[in-house]
């Protein structure tokens, strides 16, 4: 006998309302844990975007001694231009680097220097950002080269590893919370089964099928999971629009980290779908376990 969807929905919602305090607790726990899962996923996607962005901007600055002759400066430029790993280079004079230092170096430190203390430089963009280390090694110690050519690769790696750690912390906390949400749902269903044990015994007596008895309880878990994931999806969307991770705000955030982490609607939609599926899964798993363990049909 097919079980009527109307009957299941009616019974499930009535029971949820009767047991509303426990239901609220279970829904909130699911919501918090799934919000964390969603945030971790957004962070991961943002970090991937930002890494690509940063890597595209990764170049190598080859510093040339301030006392190098114009011919020596020219020769280094030629070597760079002929290097297959290098895409293009721009020559920067001592005056340019001096002015740049005015922006980036602390004022008292900058005031203690003069333009002749600064090297001139070539700012190169590479064919492939991941070759930065190789280019740095090739030009370190060559005649006319000042110190070690610099590349922000190391900083990017540090940034990536920090994001990676954060992501794992988020996911670990979320997994623990998801487990506790499942247990809470299980307990809510157990209480519902206990409250309705008389009704269940009558149902069995008059020949209700096992699924007819089980489905309303399973639906209760499903609804709790759905409600929890709906709240979590709202949090994820709030995060997405609230801090401006959507691409429409990239121009407004130009240059900052958030703009670099920005992602498209489809990516955030995928995150929301995943959050919803996990929420439903947690609800169904918790209630299925409770029905199996505590409902004797």
């Amino acid at each position: 006998m097919p079980v009527s969807a109307g009957y299941v929905a009616r019974e499930a919602t009535t029971n949820l309302w009767r047991n509303r305090l426990m239901t609220a607790a279970a829904v909130l726990t699911v919501a918090v844990s799934l919000a964390l899962v969603g945030s971790a996923l957004l962070l991961k996607q943002g970090a991937t975007k930002a890494t690509v962005h940063w890597q595209n901007g990764v170049g190598v600055a080859v510093w040339v001694n301030g006392d190098a002759s114009p011919a020596q400066f020219q020769a280094i430029g030629t070597q760079l231009a002929q290097n297959p790993l290098v895409k293009s280079c721009i020559a920067r004079s001592q005056a340019y680097d001096f002015n740049e230092a005015r922006q980036t170096v602390a004022a008292d430190e900058f005031n203690a220097t003069k333009q002749s203390d600064y090297p001139s430089s070539y700012r190169c963009v590479l064919q492939n950002p991941s070759d930065a280390t190789a280019v740095v090694q090739q030009f370190t110690g060559k005649p006319g080269i000042f110190g070690t050519p610099s590349s922000p690769t190391a900083q990017i790696r540090t940034m990536e590893s920090v994001i990676h750690i954060l992501q794992w912390v988020f996911l670990s906390v979320a997994v623990v919370l998801l487990l506790s949400a499942s247990v809470l749902i299980l307990n809510t269903i157990r209480m519902a089964i206990f409250a309705r044990r008389r009704e269940v015994s009558v149902m069995k007596l008059v020949g209700a099928t096992n699924w007819f008895i089980r489905l309303p309880f399973m639906a209760e878990g499903l609804i709790q999971g759905l409600l929890g994931s709906a709240v979590a999806v709202l949090v994820v969307l709030g995060l997405y629009w609230g801090i401006g991770l959507d691409t429409t705000k990239t121009a407004a955030n130009q240059g900052n980290l958030i703009a670099q982490m920005s992602m498209g609607t489809w990516e955030v939609a995928a995150t929301c779908i995943l959050v919803g599926v996990v929420g439903i899964g947690v609800g169904v798993a918790g209630s299925a376990l409770a029905v199996r363990r505590f409902l004797d049909v």
């Binding site: 006998m1 097919p2 008389r198 009704e199 007596l205 008059v206 099928t209 007819f212």
Partner: protein, 276 residues
Amino acid sequence: MITFQNVTKTYKGSTVALRDCSIEIDKGEFVFLVGPSGSGKTTFIRLLLREEIPSSGRIWEAGKEIGHLSKWRIPYLRRNIGCVFQDFRLLPNKTVFENVAFALEVIGRPKHVIASQVPQVLDLVGLTKKSGNLPGELSGGEQQRVAVARAFVNRPLILLADEPTGNLDPTTSLGIMRLLDRINRTGTTVVVATHDAGMVDQMRRRVIELDHGDIVRDQARGMYGLDSAIAAAGAGSPTGTMVETATAPVAKAGAPAPTTGYADSRDRLGRRDVDS
């Protein structure tokens, strides 16, 4: 309709609730199961409801061997069996109508069928005027009539009643028994496990007596105890014929015949109570 073939039911700890019972109950029969507490009456009913499975032997119900029935088929078996209990088992938050309708709802009967069958059966049990009341607003007898209505609304082939008058006064009990009799006249096989001696003596239907798991008497138009049957026979009243079935071990070898009350009988055999 019901056949027990060498059925033995043993619970954990080797407590024997039924021992090698063989019995046949035909379609449309009205049977009283009598015996002291611990004699196996409730186990008999539970076996018929497939709440228990026999340790050995076979049981046929409405043409089906139910001992090896797969789990998913049990609900369908129970749709052919109505059941009434001493504690009524009504749902306190549902009205009389809803309690009776519930039995049809859970087996997926359409609303128009419920709307026509429930009033009919409420009329049969005489509770039409109380269909909107909650069980808490009814007397014990009325509640039991609701339970009978719920058991019968699906027009089952068999109606089982476990101590249906256990909580009721004699007058109300008589009303319930008359109701079960009316249901029996519709062709439904009725099996009533009872301690109500007055009722059994008054109804004069087939009596199966159990004692510590053994069928000790199977009597057409019988009375509650052997004493009352003998007394009635001595008085020249038409008690019907005492029928001892071929398989029923009427008296144990060496054991005195049960001529006294059931409590004495239990003490004499020294067996444990498994029926409560």
